[in-house]
């Protein structure tokens, strides 16, 4: 690094000259300063070539020095597509170029540019769609050519031991100010002074925006003075939180703003938001306008002011506004020879400025443009520009002069940084006469200030910031509308040249640098019929690259408008969507929240070797043992329940308390069955239909007292059932309290022919004899002083007791029961075994054996519907659908054990002869049963396939068809002899 290359202070606001940083680029060691970006350090080392363009592999160097272009995309060891002009240098950083074949300096794919005329706009769409299959051949090749960078597949976004920990946090403020340029600083200061809590966000390492690089006056003192004044006050203001190196990456409803700062994404909630995002300087379209050394004027000024880099030896300025003159002054004052300032306008307005430029020995050429940039013989850098007179809109004179130079600074005008505002629904308009933009139709709570608002004169920019803050303060009630001092400003400064586009017959006059799109590509798209700017974008890919149209949107709109005889306002620009800058997946996929529910016995299941599976948000034991032995274990566990005693954790079962004088009336209205006369101490099956008459849940209702029911619901359904119940009662206004007690109770089912022995041993205050505690009865008792609710239910088809206990005792009682059951050989069983056991018994599981169309008739639940009561939810629909001709029925089926076992979801066919026959149903449950000695299951079948003994075809995997026989349900113990003992 040559220190001589750096300008003296106060130039170099970003850098710390006391700290040298060593880094590597393409294997060569370089030095920079702390505060340098990769790009600024490279330029300080005369390394302008940083990347190869996407399509033609043309040499590219920095264009904006502000991360607004894709020309500086480089590869870091663990991260591709890093913007070199945004990313700070760090010690020993190893940087590589990307998207080349060979080396960055000698890219074998550079010749692709020569074949450019064979790759017209829409090339891919038009070339690879026929013959059929050709795309499959080309795709790997194209992907390889087009791929950018190499991702680190071992990357862990939540690596706790390093600072590589990506997470999110909320931030709450009265006012969020996006952009800390003069407008943003003024707005933040005014809001904070009035007592609002203010968040100030800027993507740069220091505050100031344009004040940190732009020149606003001939003397070149205004920016620094104002910056010092505003920044010193802001930094010590206790009401202001400052986030630098932070990007507001989108606007979402009610000022919900994602602001990314390093590894953290802030989810900002601002009551009011002021967008002072500034404006993007625009380039001039001419041949070879992408050669390294051709830059925005603002880039040259950033290099000088922020990084103290003398950017060139000989620089030419091409401008369409006064800012080019200020750039020329800045260059000249920092030792750069400026042979010529080319002004596309016929005449500049500011005579003082003209005189100042002339006094530096700079020739001013009006009514002229650069027609072509001429690269050096190795094509790596700018060598000269071909200057021509302008003779009409986009037309140049025949002959011109060639001026040798190593830099060209372009100032064609500014495009407001409208992205966040348009995401909020603002309308961007362009006045074709004045070439000015305006943003209107802002939502409440969103304000705009500074150059994004078309205000460019420094004094007015500050006033505009204050005016925006004032509007925010009035909305917050912190300022009185009648006493505010800020007023709306009007800026008439002309910054945009109306037609900075000079097409060249040989092309390479780039509109979009990201996608290598030339002026003719845009025009050709319109000729192919794509008149709408949105369609032009999709066909040509203009604006789809990393810079998202920051520079291509305006020339595209102008070219499309021109080619279709419309105005730019009529043409419009493409929709701006979040994110504003490319967002790392790690920012989204870093620390995330995936809630999980566990029963109080969870640890015990793990100790017992349970294979845990998700059941909705819950974790449940599928069975106890190695999943490799699943089938065997399930049969073992089921035989244990059929022949001895088993215990299953059913804590996930939903539970609802229905209490109050209207409890019975409420139950009667919600569930299909009759509940008014349900005796205390008895349970009753409860089916829930929705208003469409579809079965949506079921459970067991226990009547604890005249005015008290405890009703269970399915694991996955209980939250929705609770919502439905409370919603209905918000309308009915019955005297009833509804409480979701799912988590308050842990529960187990002790089941098997000798279950009573276990119960007798643990619970002494309940008589478990069949006479005193019969099938379907409900009792309460205590175990070791713990109150328990007991139900004699038969879900698995054996003598069984469900024990519901307050949750904090769940683990204690599980342990106690396991010990008590030891002498009876009791073993735990899992949910998959339970599914088999209940299937043998013919019990349905709502949502497994039912779907969004299943009404009670299809499920043979007619018996669970009371027609003697005036109302239940869904009654009218149930009556209507059940009176119509039925189309399907849920039946039990059986196949020999040797047959292929159908899977849940396999389809039932009308017949096995015609492969195109109708689908009449589907398999809902299927399992091998060692008790029955057959593959058994439940399936929806066509209404004329439902008769017992009938066989029906099932299409299983690979298109094979197996025949199953309809069997009367249940498969097991039809007379309930085993559970009513």
């Amino acid at each position: 690094m040559s220190i001589n290359n750096r300008l003296s202070a106060p130039k170099g606001l970003f850098i710390n000259r006391d700290k040298t940083v060593k880094f590597e680029f393409e294997g060569i060691e370089h030095e920079g300063f702390e505060g340098d970006t990769i790009a600024s350090a490279l330029i300080a080392n005369d390394q302008w070539l940083m990347s190869r363009s996407f399509k033609y592999h043309r040499p590219r160097g920095p264009l904006t020095m502000a991360g607004q272009d894709a020309n500086t995309l480089v590869q870091l060891p663990s991260e591709p597509n890093v913007l070199a002009d945004r990313t700070p240098l760090s010690n020993q950083l190893k940087v590589q170029g990307q998207n080349y074949n060979g080396s960055l300096e000698n890219d074998k794919d550079e010749k692709l540019g020569l074949a450019g005329r064979f790759m017209p706009v829409g090339f891919y769409y038009r070339s690879f769609y026929k013959p059929k299959g050709v795309w499959d051949k080309w795709e790997p090749f194209i992907r390889k050519k087009a791929g950018l960078g190499t991702a680190d597949l071992t990357f862990d976004p939540i690596h706790k031991d390093t600072d590589q920990y990506y997470d999110k946090a909320y931030l709450f403020h009265d006012v969020a100010v996006i952009g800390a340029g003069p407008a943003g600083l003024a707005a933040a200061l005014k809001a904070a002074d009035a007592g609002a809590s203010v968040l100030l966000v800027d993507e740069n390492p220091i505050l100031g925006g344009a004040l940190s690089y732009h020149r606003f006056d001939v003397e070149g003192v205004k920016a620094a003075t104002l910056r010092n004044k505003l920044v010193s006050r802001i930094e010590e203001h206790e009401n202001v939180q400052i986030l630098t190196n932070a990007t507001c990456n989108g606007w979402f409803t009610d000022n919900y703003l994602p602001v990314i700062q390093g590894t953290r994404m802030y989810k900002v909630r601002a009551k009011q938001c002021v967008v002072a995002s500034g404006a993007f300087e625009q380039h001039v379209v001419f041949r070879n306008n992408d050669v390294p050394g051709v830059v925005m004027s603002s880039a040259a000024m950033r290099l000088m002011s922020q990084y103290a880099i003398k950017p060139a030896q000989r620089a030419v300025v091409l401008t369409g506004n006064d800012d080019g003159y200020l750039c020329a002054l800045e260059l000249a004052e920092n030792g750069v020879t400026v042979p010529m300032l080319i002004d596309m306008r016929a005449q500049a307005d500011d005579l003082i400025l003209i005189e100042a430029v002339k006094s530096k020995g700079i020739a001013i050429q009006n009514n002229a443009t650069v027609y072509e940039a001429i690269p050096s013989s190795d094509k790596r850098h700018l060598a000269a520009v071909d200057v021509r007179g302008i003779v009409g809109k986009g037309a140049v004179a025949e002959g011109g002069v060639t001026i040798p130079c190593d830099m060209l600074c372009m100032s064609a005008g500014y495009m407001p940084v409208y992205q966040l505002l348009c995401q909020a629904g603002a309308k961007l308009s362009y006045d074709d006469m004045s070439s000015r933009f305006s943003l209107t139709n802002l939502v409440d709570g969103l304000h705009i200030a500074g150059s994004v608002n078309g205000v460019h004169e420094l004094e007015l920019v500050v006033k505009d910031g204050e005016y925006a803050a004032s509007k925010a303060l009035i909305a917050l009630g912190l300022e009185d509308n009648n006493h505010n001092t800020a007023t709306q400003v009007l800026c008439t400064k002309q910054t945009n040249f109306d037609w900075p586009i000079f097409k060249h017959p040989k092309g390479k006059d780039f509109v979009d640098f990201d996608e290598d799109l030339q002026a003719k590509d845009i025009v050709n798209a319109t000729r192919l019929g794509y008149r709408d700017v949105q369609l032009v974008k999709r066909f040509s890919t203009v604006g789809m690259g990393p810079s998202q149209g920051r520079h291509s949107a305006l020339p595209t709109a102008r070219l499309v408008a021109d080619a279709t005889n419309r105005t730019v306002t009529e043409t419009g620009v493409t929709t701006a969507r979040p994110p504003f800058v490319p967002e790392k997946l790690a920012n989204i996929a870093g620390r995330i929240f995936s809630p999980q529910k566990r029963t109080p016995m969870h640890k015990r299941h793990l100790e017992l070797g349970a294979h845990m599976i998700p059941a909705g948000i819950w974790r449940r034991p599928a069975f106890y043992g190695d999943p490799k032995n699943r089938d065997k274990i399930i049969q073992q566990e089921s035989q244990q329940v059929r022949n001895g005693v088993g215990m299953i954790d059913v804590s996930t079962l939903g539970g609802l308390e229905i209490r109050g004088t209207d409890a019975a009336e409420f139950m009667n209205r919600i569930y299909t069955f009759a509940f008014l006369k349900q005796p205390v101490g008895k349970t009753r099956y409860a089916v829930l239909t929705n208003e469409q008459g579809v079965v949506i849940d079921d459970g067991v209702s226990c009547r604890i007292a005249d005015d008290h029911y405890y009703v269970t619901a399915t694991t996955s359904g209980v939250d929705a059932v609770y919502r439905e119940m409370t919603k209905w009662n918000a309308q009915w206004r019955l005297d009833v309290d509804i409480t979701n007690v799912t988590s308050a109770f842990a529960a187990v089912n002790v089941a098997g022919p000798i279950a009573r022995n276990v119960m007798n041993k643990v619970c002494n205050d309940v008589d478990f004899s069949n006479e005193s505690f019969p099938y379907l009865a409900y009792r309460e008792g205590t175990i070791e002083g713990i109150p328990v609710r007991l139900m004699r239910v038969g879900f698995v088809g054996e003598l069984g007791y469900e024990i519901h206990m307050p949750a904090l005792f769940g683990e204690f009682l599980w342990d106690l029961l396991m010990v008590a059951g030891e002498e009876f050989g009791m073993q735990p069983f899992g949910v998959e075994t339970q599914r088999l056991l209940r299937l043998e018994k013919g019990h349905i599981i709502v949502s497994q054996d039912t779907d969004g169309m299943s009404h009670p008739g299809e499920l043979s639940l007619d018996w669970a519907i009371s027609r003697k009561k005036p109302f239940f939810v869904g009654r009218k629909s149930v009556d209507i659908v059940m009176a119509r001709k039925q189309t399907r029925k849920l039946v039990g089926f059986k196949l020999p054990p040797s047959a292929i076992k159908p899977k849940e979801g396999h389809i039932v066919l009308e017949n096995d002869r015609d492969p195109t026959c109708a689908i009449t149903g589907n398999i809902t449950s299927s399992e091998y049963s060692s008790t029955i000695g057959a593959n058994i299951g439940m399936a929806f079948v066509g209404i004329d396939q439902q008769d017992v003994g009938n066989t029906f075809p099932i299409r299983v995997d690979n298109g094979a068809v197996v025949m199953a026989e309809v069997v009367k349900l249940p498969f097991y113990d039809a007379n309930n002899d085993r559970q009513e003992v």
């Binding site: 979402f252 409803t253 009610d254 919900y256 209205r669 208003e691 469409q692 609770y722 919502r723 409370t726 919603k727 918000a730 309308q731 009915w732 206004r733 019955l734 979701n740 008739g857 007619d862 027609r867 005036p870 109302f871 009654r875 009218k876 629909s877 009556d879 209507i880 059940m882 009176a883 119509r884 001709k885 039925q886 029925k889 209404i943 008769d947």
Partner: protein, 108 residues
């Protein structure tokens, strides 16, 4: 993310709420036609206007009413459901409702 002002809990992220459908009067099941019932169950007007909707604040288990504009998505106001539903609702015995004929049974 959108905010909604819960009458009980104040402004909250919309993700804390569950939508409960439009507030619509239920026709009298005992007297309405099947078509009227189907209209109530299956069809919604889907007009551009302010609609009254049920919303549920999940963390507090609270149902309330929100008035929302279907085009702008602006939530105009929210209030307790008792403002619309203050009277106990009764259902009378369906004397004139014939018992439905079950086709399933008939086919067997």
């Amino acid at each position: 993310m959108k905010l909604m002002n819960c009458p009980l809990n104040g402004p909250r992220n919309i993700s804390e709420f569950v939508y409960g459908g439009e507030v619509r009067p239920m026709p009298n099941q005992a007297t309405c036609s099947d078509k009227e019932w189907a209209d109530y169950v299956f069809y919604s007007d889907n007009n551009i206007r302010i609609v009254k909707e049920w919303w549920f604040h999940s963390p507090s288990g609270y149902w309330f009413i929100a008035e929302r504009h279907t085009a702008s998505d602006e939530i105009v106001k929210t209030y307790d459901s008792s403002e619309l539903f203050s009277e106990r609702v009764e259902f009378n015995a369906p004397d004139d409702q014939p018992a439905p004929v079950l086709q399933t049974e008939g086919l067997k």
